[in-house]
Amino acid sequence: MASSALVARPSLHLILTSLLRADSLALLKNPRRLLLSYLLPLLMLLVTGSSKSASHLGGAVYVIGLSIAYGLVSASLMGYAFTVARDRESGVFQRLRVTPAPAWTIMVSRIVLQLVSSLVMAIVVVFVGIQIHHVALAADEYLLVLAVSVLGGAVFVAIGQALVGLVKSADTVNAAGRILFIVLILLGLFGRSGLLGSLWESISSWSPVGVVMSLYADVLNLATWNGSDWLSIVACVGYLFACAYVGIRWFKWEAR
């Protein structure tokens, strides 16, 4: 063993780099998370490939927005949240916390990676979406899609974080994530259609999925951008801060 005089204190940069590399590898080796991120949005794009089916859901750009939003929801609620809960339950976080890595770096690495992953998913879905639906996008619209993806990704990661903050057991997080996912999907699909009445339409519009979908739809067609989109941004920021507060305030590093 080395004398204490030879013990190095790792730099923050090295700690973060090591964590990000390991978390990236873990993400890439986790088929469940990749499947959840890409399967549903791409499936949705393929199913709504004809202009007729897309028009039932509000048009091509709306379908692309919907697909990305659902990709973000499934990746965050069933991918991110479950993995965090599982690693907490199995003691992965405790093992990391006894190292010199500050606790915040462990979580920041995971969150940053989830946001980057969301961004990549959004780029892929937009690319596939414009091929299938023959939508032409200007350069600024591409940039806005990326910006909305970061914001939307952050909102749903915050919701996932709130879930693991409030629920300790990995199994319960898994079950609750699925239920929440289904509720948000149904709310998004049927609420916006007006089939459930105006109240539900309004609730759907201002739900996390609703506001993110609206933003996607309007940045993919900037001509329709209006004042309610600014309110959607405010709503996103509100969801982000509220859920992040819950997720950080009540988060426990161990499941016991």
């Binding site: 080395a2 005089a5 006894v98 010199p100």
Partner: protein, 414 residues
């Protein structure tokens, strides 16, 4: 050193003593101000490598570096060509403890204070010059005598007297349940220390507090002279930990896990070193396998390897043999023996009295969060062999297990 008169004069006049007493609660910034004002020191703040080197102090021809946290053994000499200089490295000085010792050292060609226990901080001069040791804050008025200490060998000897782990008045509670009550322990360098106790006695809670996994209700933990609370990162960098339940990210291969933890401890390891290390741990063939495919024994071996990856000064092992087959257990004890031979210190918990007796230099028995007794295994038996509670459970010659059961009771714990 060019101006000992100035420094000594200030100390003799007691003016500095009162300022220095204040420095026990001062922070590095205030310490620098003190040097500037009291000694007319030229203070150059440094970014250094990372945040290690805080400042360079020049008093006349003397040159000091104040180093926070990470003590590096090389590259720290600040001597300008043609000047008489010396370099002192000060380890973690959030409370200004080291600055006081530095002042005393500057005055008296090095100083040492050996009165009382609980030495917490060392100043090491890698070039074999003067050095000093200070005690914790509560005895601030008496620390750092100005008597010369003599040779570098004596310095090294005294530095080795610093406990590698000092637990002082530790109380850990979960809500209204007190798991550890006012515990005091000190583990010497090179010592293998066993913490024994029935289930729920407070062993893991004690270890968790030392590992920084939970915040104690009161009390302090110092590792290698560094307060765990004030210098968390530096203190953790000196510890290697094997938790009771081992887990790593299941998707990662062993190589990737080792690379991750090497990075977290600031150890540069290439593929070749990682493979060599894994081979030495008997995991060479599994290097590319994911963690989830390992057997229980292999997982324990990996956990021990990761715990020792940065050659820590203190190794914490929480029930390291639980779930191991005899072969793996034998290999673990061989590893522990090797650590002992290399001068490492270990704090371990175990339920096996035979193993504790065979491998530990000293053992402590705790129950219901309180320390019942601590000594060498032989001494413990000697101390308690006539205790009626021990005699009542002993069959023939008293063993460590008899002492353990005698002191903690025969009732089965949860």
């Amino acid at each position: 050193m060019t101006e000992p008169g100035l420094v000594a004069g200030l100390i003799d006049s007691r003016a500095v003593t009162s300022i220095q007493t204040e420095l026990w609660v001062a922070h590095a910034g205030e310490a620098l101000k003190f040097y500037r004002e009291a000694f007319g020191a030229t203070v150059t703040r440094c970014d250094g490598e990372g945040d290690d080197i805080v400042a360079k102090l020049e008093v006349g021809d003397a040159c000091f570096w104040i180093v926070s946290g990470n003590l590096r053994a090389s590259g720290s000499s600040g001597a300008a060509p043609g000047r008489t200089s010396r370099t002192l490295l000060i380890v973690d000085d959030p409370d200004g403890v080291a600055t006081r010792a530095l002042a005393a050292g500057a005055a008296a060609q090095g100083s040492v204070d050996k009165t009382g226990g609980g030495l917490t901080l060392g100043i090491i001069d890698p070039f074999g010059h003067e050095w000093g040791i200070c005690k914790p804050r509560q005895t601030a008025n008496a620390v750092c005598s100005t008597e010369p200490t003599g040779t570098g060998e004596a310095s090294e000897e005294a530095a080795n007297q610093l406990p590698i782990l000092a637990i002082s008045n530790l109380t850990v509670a979960y809500g209204s349940t007190v798991a550890v009550r006012d515990l005091n322990l000190a583990i010497a360098r090179g010592e293998i220390f066993g913490l024994l106790g029935p289930n729920g006695a407070g062993k893991t809670s004690t270890l968790s507090a030392v590992e920084g996994l939970l915040t104690p209700r009161s009390g302090t933990v110092s590792v290698d002279g560094l307060s765990l609370k004030a210098n968390t990162i530096a203190a953790k960098a000196r510890m290697g930990v094997q938790l009771q339940a081992t887990s790593f990210q299941v998707e990662l291969s062993l190589k990737q896990i080792v690379r991750l933890y090497a990075g977290l401890y600031g150890v540069a390891m290439g593929d070749r070193e990682i493979l060599a290390g894994l081979r030495e741990a008997g995991l060479g063939a599994e290097a590319t396998k994911p963690f989830k495919q390992l057997s229980g024994g292999q997982q324990q071996r990996l956990s021990l390897f990761v715990a020792m990856i940065h050659e820590p000064a203190l190794l914490l092992l929480d029930e390291p043999t639980s779930g191991l087959d005899p072969q793996s257990r034998r290999q673990l004890w061989t590893n522990i023996e090797r650590i002992r031979e290399n001068g490492g210190s270990i704090l371990l918990t175990t339920h096996s009295m035979e193993e504790a007796q065979a491998v530990c230099d000293r053992v402590a028995i705790i129950d219901q969060g309180s320390l019942l007794t601590a000594a060498t295994p032989a001494r413990l038996i000697e101390m308690h062999k006539d205790d009626p509670r021990v005699r009542a459970v002993a069959h023939g010659e008293v063993t460590l297990e008899d002492v353990f059961i005698g002191l903690t009771g025969s009732a089965i714990r949860g």
